[in-house]
């Protein structure tokens, strides 16, 4: 606001309801994963690999040209009527996932360690139908059998590239979803990986859910369960080390009404925090909560798959 005495700082006036991902999102995530790999020692090698994977995703996003891309106005009707324009079911057949995925494996080839090289070889010799099956599992949240579970994060990474590319082509973000549909991504209909509390000037302190697939962020009120909408029995649980220092800027937003939790990442504590990366790095929080046994996890992180046979 400008007036005769100078400029008043702008506050949060009308925070955007839906924020499309940034073209550099994978690079930001890779950087965060790399930093976390040096900080969280027990997960060091795992997070370092995921950092490489995200870096490869960025390379593919920037350099690969998929054979099919939607026309810029293809989603005008969906946007106008408040439908998720990039619905996973609707676009599976059109999206050129296989060349994206092949490009991702090539980009990863240079960086991958010896222990993980067999994964690459296995995926390369797998027929398209096999890859498609894995992709279906990733998109429906089915952890499948342990024997193929190690391949799923790589397939998921390919799908993330394909869908983030689509999200970048949208002429405008979708509208805020109606109240009954705020648990799923307004762009692609996938589940959120975690919440993030923003710090930018126009949305400082505002909470968004971030899509586990296309990284779109959508607004949800603070201090409210993202699963059941209740507000009465929420707790924010986090890990402290022996000196009382928090391990990461990550809390579990646990709900005593539906007994689930979704992680929430206040960027105020660490501006570099990225929901998917910080969710992975705070695995110890999940393990401790599982030990308590009161809450089940609702976050969808396609870089980590756990079955129910354990």
């Amino acid at each position: 606001m400008n007036h005769a005495y100078g400029n008043a700082p702008m506050g949060v006036m009308d925070p955007p309801a839906v924020v499309l991902p940034d073209p550099g999102h994978f690079a930001v995530r890779a950087q965060r994963l790399h930093a976390l790999s040096e900080r969280i020692e027990p997960l060091g090698a795992f997070l370092a690999f995921m950092a490489q994977l995200s870096r490869a995703q960025q390379v593919v996003l920037e350099r690969h040209q998929p054979q099919w891309l939607p026309e810029p106005d293809a989603f005008a009707l969906a946007l106008k009527h408040g439908m998720p324009p990039l619905g996973v079911e609707a676009l599976r057949g059109d999206v050129d996932f296989h060349t994206e995925f092949a490009a991702l494996l090539d980009a990863l080839d240079l960086a991958i360690g010896e222990a993980q090289r067999p994964l690459l070889a296995e995926l390369r010799k797998m027929p398209r139908s096999g890859i498609d099956q894995l992709a279906t599992r990733v998109l429906t949240g089915d952890a499948g059998l342990p024997s193929q579970r190690g391949l799923m994060p790589l397939v998921a990474a390919g799908l993330q590239v394909a869908w983030l590319r689509l999200a970048l082509r949208l002429p405008a973000p979708p509208q805020r979803p109606p109240p009954e549909a705020r648990a799923i991504c307004p762009c692609c209909g996938s589940l959120p990986v975690a919440s993030v509390i923003q710090i930018d000037q126009i949305r400082s302190g505002v909470r968004y859910l971030q899509c586990g697939l296309c990284a779109t962020q959508w607004y949800l009120e603070r201090a409210k369960c993202s699963v059941c909408d209740q507000t009465g029995k929420l707790d924010y649980l986090s890990l402290e080390d022996e000196t009382g220092e928090p391990l990461l800027p990550v809390q579990a937003e646990t709900c005593g009404d539906c007994h689930t939790y979704l992680k929430i990442v206040p960027r105020e504590f660490d501006a570099q925090a990225e929901p998917l990366a910080d969710d992975l790095a705070s695995l110890a929080l999940d393990l401790l909560l599982a030990e308590k046994g009161e809450y089940r996890r609702s976050g969808y992180n396609p870089f980590l798959w756990v079955g129910n046979e354990g």
């Binding site: 949060v12 090698a45 909470r207 707790d235 924010y236 599982a290 046994g293």
Partner: protein, 197 residues
């Protein structure tokens, strides 16, 4: 009833599942992480929505407190910030609102009803029942003594001008309505809400 659109899958991400997780299957040992949880403890916080009490703007605040809600200990409040979802204030607070935590912790904060008897220079603590009874008694006596049913021209007025009423600032429309009903039904003419500080 509207059906909620959800594709939620819930699961326990526990130590038992880690051995067959994608992480283990990719060749990364989950054991160090499983072992590492012994070094951490879970700490909890609560966030409660409220309104700033200072003025009639009624800015939304989020109040952070530690520990168990069952122990409703006011000392547990450790942080207060503007509520970015509040339609009036959108997360902003004025300097007074930003100092709410000090207000809660203030040693001179009024925590219970007190009375200074006529002629005394000391404040004494009384119960809420005492306080309300005494106020009601004063009001009744004053109203009985000073209630005016007719003015000089003989018109019925039924008013009470010797007692006034000052209500709080952070009140809702419903509170304002009830205040109005109560005050006017007694015939009181002078009343205000504390809206300017």
């Amino acid at each position: 009833m509207t059906l909620r659109v959800t594709r939620r899958q819930f699961f326990k991400l526990g130590a038992a599942g880690m051995a067959t997780s994608s992480m283990a299957m990719m060749g990364f040992a989950p054991e160090p992480t499983v072992a590492s949880i012994r070094h951490f403890k879970l700490t909890g916080a609560k966030i409660t929505r409220s309104n700033c009490t200072y003025c009639s703007v009624g800015c939304g605040v989020l109040i952070y407190s530690r520990g168990d809600a069952a122990i409703n200990n006011i000392d547990d409040i450790y942080h207060i910030e503007g509520d970015p979802d509040h339609p009036v204030s959108r997360g902003s607070l004025c300097p007074k609102g930003s100092g709410l935590l000090d207000y809660i912790r203030s040693e001179s904060r009024l925590r219970y009803p007190m009375v200074r008897e006529p002629g005394s220079d000391e404040w004494q603590r009384i119960t809420w029942d005492d306080a309300l009874s005494r106020i009601a008694r004063h009001m009744k006596d004053d109203r009985d003594a000073n209630f005016v049913t007719e003015n000089q021209a003989g018109h019925t007025v039924n008013h009470w001008t010797t007692t006034g009423f000052l209500a709080a600032s952070a009140s809702s429309n419903e509170t304002a309505y009830l205040t109005h009903k109560m005050v006017r039904s007694l015939g009181m003419v002078a009343f205000d809400n504390q809206a300017r500080v």
